[in-house]
């Protein structure tokens, strides 16, 4: 093929990553993302674990400006 450089080599569907390869990354990624989300958005606010207000106070402005329920 003389035009090999001009045409895309692979059709997009050939690039698809198999689900069995993706699944563990997505599973751990989702769990980790949820953990950080809860820590940033709700710990010592709606969720009163751990006790105290230090984390709440530290991320206070972020909670308000990133749109999470706060007070």
């Amino acid at each position: 093929m003389a035009h090999a450089f001009a045409t895309p080599v692979a059709a997009p569907s050939e690039l698809a990553i198999p689900v069995r390869e993706l699944a563990p990354w997505l599973a751990l990624g989702a769990l980790f993302a949820l953990t950080v989300l809860v820590l940033i958005s709700s710990v010592q606010g709606a969720i009163t674990i751990p006790e105290g207000t230090a984390i709440h106070e530290w991320v206070h402005d972020g909670r308000h400006l990133l749109g999470f329920p706060c007070h």
Partner: protein, 266 residues
Amino acid sequence: MTTRTFLVHGLLAGLLAGIAAFVVAYTVGEPQIDKAIALEEVAGAPASDGHDHTHADPSQDAAGHSHGDEAVVSRTTQSTLGLATGTLALGVVLGGFTGLLAAAGLGRLGGLRPAASTAVMALLAAVSFSVVPFLKYPATPPAVGSGETIDSRTAVYFGFLAVSVLGVLAAVAVARRAARRWTGVPGVLAGAATYVAVVAVAALAFPKIDELGSFPAGLLWDFRIASLLTLVALWAVIGAALTALVDRTWRQHSAAQARKELAASL
């Protein structure tokens, strides 16, 4: 192009996005937060919104806290390091996960090339995770929202967010099925209709939250615009940076493949 490539690109894009969100939040958002706290302190009387910000014993109730100078964390720290912690952590996590979503979308969204499918995944994530939840439950400044209702407000916020995210997953499934049966345009329309229907029903079913009291409308508007700009900055940088990085990797991948095929044909 492996899952690892996408995750690394996503984490990098998320870090940049966290920085961008901090800059916007600090310059546009912090002045509104300061004004809201100033109002709250002038009002002084907690009875105005049924909410005591200067709790006598903070250890007894994590929901009660003070916004003034006597707070556990000073206002300066809250508006700089504290704010940066929030935007950077959320940026990296959302960027990384969007990278993984882009990996899942690769080659699965009709004939879209990697850059296009990545941009679509980032857009869907932004709309379903941030924009639509904001439209139903917009951000509120300090002095709005009672400590007693934080539990129920958080529950409905994340409940609605979950419906929105599940709705977009269903919409993508519908769109792919419809695109296979007909073509791309009806597929996209069917997907969009699915998402709008799910979210519209949920928006009607979920309770309304109104704890504004006599908070000034002008300041509320400014705060909400600032909050929306922060979220838009976050997602715009995630989407743009991730798409650019994925496209660059794909071009390198294609060039390498082309050289291999050329060599094989000689």
